[in-house]
């Protein structure tokens, strides 16, 4: 038995792949739920109602999906150009703290219409800066960015922790380590009144469309794809490799920084070190689940958010650990990677 590369990928197969992968993952997770002593179908039903059963849970799921979409896009863009940005978590926090500082100390007096876009830019730039440094190390000294971006996550989070316990500490927070709050004018408008759902979701979806357009239609999209697939060939064809990587890094870091900015401005209003439940790392999973397709990222982020929010509801009502959500998402990733493999290869004798 051996694997042969498929010459053509049927469209039906490409669409069916993620569906089959998710079903397979749910089936395996079902075994674990059964082990935990709960009826499997009821448990899945509880996940679904936990995620969509009420207005509150639906808006909560969508609120969770927004930052996942942005960090998912950040990973998808970078990975497609073979820039292994594992640092979205740190870039997320950099974007968040930059926005809090900028709103509290610089732009707090500006009206919403002006302040919000400025803060978006500030957050994105903060994320970019944190990625451009490892990229420079790679281009200049060939330092592997997997290591540098990953380790910078810890540096970034500890740095943020230092700031919110020091110069940016909120004096009115009764000694809790949290940053000063953003100005009221910097709070994002809600998509739905009386919920936490803010316009960040709409922004994320629009950005996914923009990224899809850039990748599929523009010269830059073509060149960055070429640079990722075959750097020597791209260089021979005149693609400016370093410049392409810098732009890719700015887009990737910028999106991760923006995710942090939006989370602060849309949900919490200030920064703590538990602002992100691992959005940066989950973004990698989301990107891989989407097979690096920006439109797929939107769906994969929704799926991941459903699993996380829904599993909370399920565990409350059935007494199963919430870790089942992590397990299910992880299993989906594994089955997705296997399924993607089979869209590219076939078994032959």
């Amino acid at each position: 038995m051996r694997f042969e590369r498929r010459e053509h990928r049927p469209a039906a197969l490409v669409i069916a792949t993620p569906v089959i992968a998710v079903i397979a993952a749910l089936a395996v997770a079902g075994v674990l739920i059964a082990f935990a002593g709960a009826p499997v179908l009821t448990a899945y039903w509880k996940i679904l109602t936990g995620a969509f059963g009420s207005r509150l849970s639906t808006t909560e799921t969508l609120t969770r999906a927004a930052p996942l979409m942005l960090t998912g896009l950040a990973a998808a863009i970078a990975f497609r150009a073979r820039l292994w940005n594992i640092g979205a978590e740190g870039q997320f926090y950099f974007g968040a703290i930059a926005v809090a500082a900028a709103s509290a100390h610089l732009f707090g007096g500006l009206p919403s219409l002006l302040q919000i876009p400025i803060l978006f830019v500030v957050g994105a730039i903060a994320g970019m800066v944190l990625l451009l440094f490892p990229l420079w190390l790679r281009l200049r000294f060939s330092v592997d960015e997997v290591v540098t971006t990953l380790l910078l996550n810890f540096v970034a989070i500890l740095f943020v922790s230092m700031l919110i316990d020091g110069v940016l500490k909120d004096p009115t927070a009764f000694g809790w380590p949290q940053s000063e709050a953003v100005a009221d004018a910097a709070r994002l408008p809600k998509l739905l009144a009386r919920s936490r759902l803010h316009i960040g979701l709409a922004i994320a979806v629009v950005l996914a469309l923009v990224v899809h357009f850039v990748q599929s239609r523009t010269v830059f999209g073509l060149q960055s794809r070429a640079a990722g697939l075959n750097p020597a060939g791209a260089g021979f064809a005149g693609v400016p490799l370093a410049r392409t990587l810098v732009i890719v890094a700015m887009m990737s870091g910028g999106l991760a920084g923006l995710a942090g900015a939006i989370e602060v401005m849309g949900v919490k209003g200030y920064v703590t070190t538990d602002l992100s439940p691992g959005y940066g790392y989950s973004g990698i999973v989301v990107a891989m689940l989407a097979n690096l397709n920006p439109l797929g990222v939107v769906l994969a982020a929704l799926f991941t958010a459903i699993m996380f929010v829904g599993a909370d509801g399920m565990s409350r009502s059935m007494g199963i650990p919430t870790y089942i959500a992590d397990v299910t998402v992880a299993l989906s990733l594994i089955s997705m990677l296997i399924a993607v493999f089979f869209t590219q290869y076939r078994i032959s004798r």
């Binding site: 523009t218 010269v219 060149q223 791209a234």
Partner: protein, 507 residues
């Protein structure tokens, strides 16, 4: 001839609708060298994979010394004494030579590995066949030729009596190839039997006792080397008479490109040393040399991917600064890279994307790719240059080497370039494709293109070039007229003998 050590009888293998091997029978005697000759896709590699147990044949069987081999069992093939030297070596670059040779020979469960015995055995084999290699060298530090020697040693270490070599010279320089063939002959004299796969007529004629020609999965002919000729083999292999085209008289026009004292320094080493040459419209300048003497850098210089550190480049009568890829393409320099899979094409991208990538500015507006124009451009190339096996939207990886090269030629020549840089344009192609590529180059020359042909194939350079310069250690000889030289003189030039000759003339 003595009895057959290997017998392949009635082997057929079908992949989908493609009959890769059609009822092939073949025998090999002790001490014999058989060449398996055929174009790419003729079924040579499939047949050898069946022999080695990688594939299970649909019908037929393989027997060694009269005993049938179980199909699909590489281990049984190795135990029966069959050794395979793959075109792409199956060696680990981070291990030493000795470790590579020993890999897979010892049980995973044995507590201690018997390194000293293995070393002794390896050195004995190495001495017996004159395959000199340092057992403690790290494989990744060896040249390709030396790595191949390790691959052969590994097969011999496993007590191979039948050695199969898959296109052994594809990765070697001419000198390394000659050395390899004298080793192979020596091995045959010592009683080993060899099969080597090739599509190069010269080496087949020079080395093999018997030649078996495959075409389209069928065994079409079997000849003793003494009873056949290159012309006959070429015709058998391609299925019709092929003639490599030869240039007619040249009428060179004005000088379009001139290099004066150009030096290129990379990583602290002068890869090109003060070279002088000029290209004239409607003329082919051949640069001949053993690979690794600066050809790559010379090609990069004119492709816009390497910059000179000294000297002048004069393009169309004007001195120019650093040449970028975009400027080179814009200035009408068509470029055929020496490694088409690495530099010439991005395998996972569509044919049309590969066609337009280097001239993307012309196929885009306001930063948006004009997909329709790109597909039309690719279609024009496919039709005009007889590219088979793909549509504009299929991935370029699906094309055979010859068709990929036709596409690369096409994307350059369809624009009627004023200069064509062709680096090793026929390397690795089969006879039919070589003829097609040569024909296109001569056609461009007739249309007034100045061609710089970089090649290590003497025959190719003598057939196409009007003037010839040799490249040795980054230095270029003065040009000679093709009419004034023969193969012997070119061989001397490739060995760097021109300087002595000049001195002799001066005296």
């Amino acid at each position: 001839m003595s009895e057959a050590v290997l017998e392949i009888s009635g082997v057929s293998k079908r992949f989908g609708t493609n009959l890769a091997n059609d009822n092939i029978s073949l025998s090999l005697a002790k001490g014999e060298i058989v060449a398996l000759l055929g174009e790419n896709g003729a079924g040579k590699t499939t047949l050898m994979s069946i022999l080695f147990g990688h594939y299970v044949p649909d019908t037929g069987k393989v027997s060694v010394m009269g005993e049938d081999l179980p199909p699909g069992k590489p281990r049984a093939a190795i135990r029966a004494g069959i050794g395979m030297v793959h075109q792409h070596f199956s060696l680990a670059p981070n291990l030493t030579v000795l470790e590579n040779v020993m890999t897979g020979t010892e049980s995973l469960w044995s507590l201690a590995s018997n390194v000293s015995a293995a070393r002794k055995k390896l050195m004995a084999i190495s001495g017996r066949f004159g395959l000199r290699v340092d057992p403690d060298a790290r494989l990744g530090d060896l040249s390709v030729g030396e790595q191949q020697r390790v691959e052969i040693l590994k097969a011999l270490y496993n007590d191979a009596r039948i050695l199969v070599l898959d296109e052994p010279t594809a990765v070697l320089t001419n000198i390394e190839a000659e050395k390899l063939f004298s080793t192979l002959k020596d091995m045959a004299r010592q009683g080993l039997s060899l099969i080597f796969i090739s599509h190069k007529l010269d080496e087949v004629m020079a080395t093999a006792d018997r030649i078996v020609v495959l075409r389209g999965g069928k065994l079409v002919a079997e000849r003793k080397a003494a009873d056949t000729s290159k012309a006959e083999l070429a015709e058998l292999m391609v299925g019709r008479a092929v003639h490599r085209p030869v240039r007619d008289a040249a009428t060179p026009g004005e000088t379009v490109l001139e290099a004066v004292g150009v030096t290129v320094r990379q990583d602290g080493v002068d890869r090109l040393k003060a070279v002088d040459f000029h290209l004239r419209a409607g003329e082919v300048l051949g640069i001949i040399g053993v690979s690794g003497n600066g050809q790559t850098v010379l090609a990069q210089l004119l492709s816009g991917t390497a910059q000179r550190s000294a000297g002048d480049l004069v393009l169309y009568g004007h001195g120019i600064g650093d040449l970028t890829v975009a400027e080179a393409v814009e200035a009408g320099i068509g470029r055929i890279p020496e490694d088409r899979n690495r530099e010439g094409a991005i395998g996972e991208m569509a044919i049309w994307e590969n066609a337009v990538l280097e001239r993307i500015q012309r196929f885009s507006r306001h930063g948006l790719v004009d997909r329709r124009a790109g597909i039309a451009f690719a279609k024009k190339i496919i039709e005009g240059f007889d590219v088979r096996g793909g549509t504009p939207v299929s991935r370029i990886r699906l094309l055979s080497g010859g068709n990929m090269q036709k596409l690369i030629l096409g994307r350059n020549l369809i624009e009627r370039p004023r200069i064509l840089l062709a680096a090793q344009p026929a390397r690795g192609l089969d006879e039919g494709a070589v003829a097609a590529v040569h024909e296109r180059i001569l056609e461009a020359r007739r249309a007034g293109t100045a061609v710089l042909l970089i090649s290590e194939d003497l025959e190719e350079v003598m057939a196409l070039a009007d003037r010839i310069q040799a490249i040795v250690g980054g230095r270029l000889s003065p040009p000679v007229k093709a009419e004034d030289v023969d193969a012997r003189r070119l061989g001397l030039m490739m060995a760097g003998e021109w300087e002595k000759e000049q001195v002799a003339h001066a005296v």
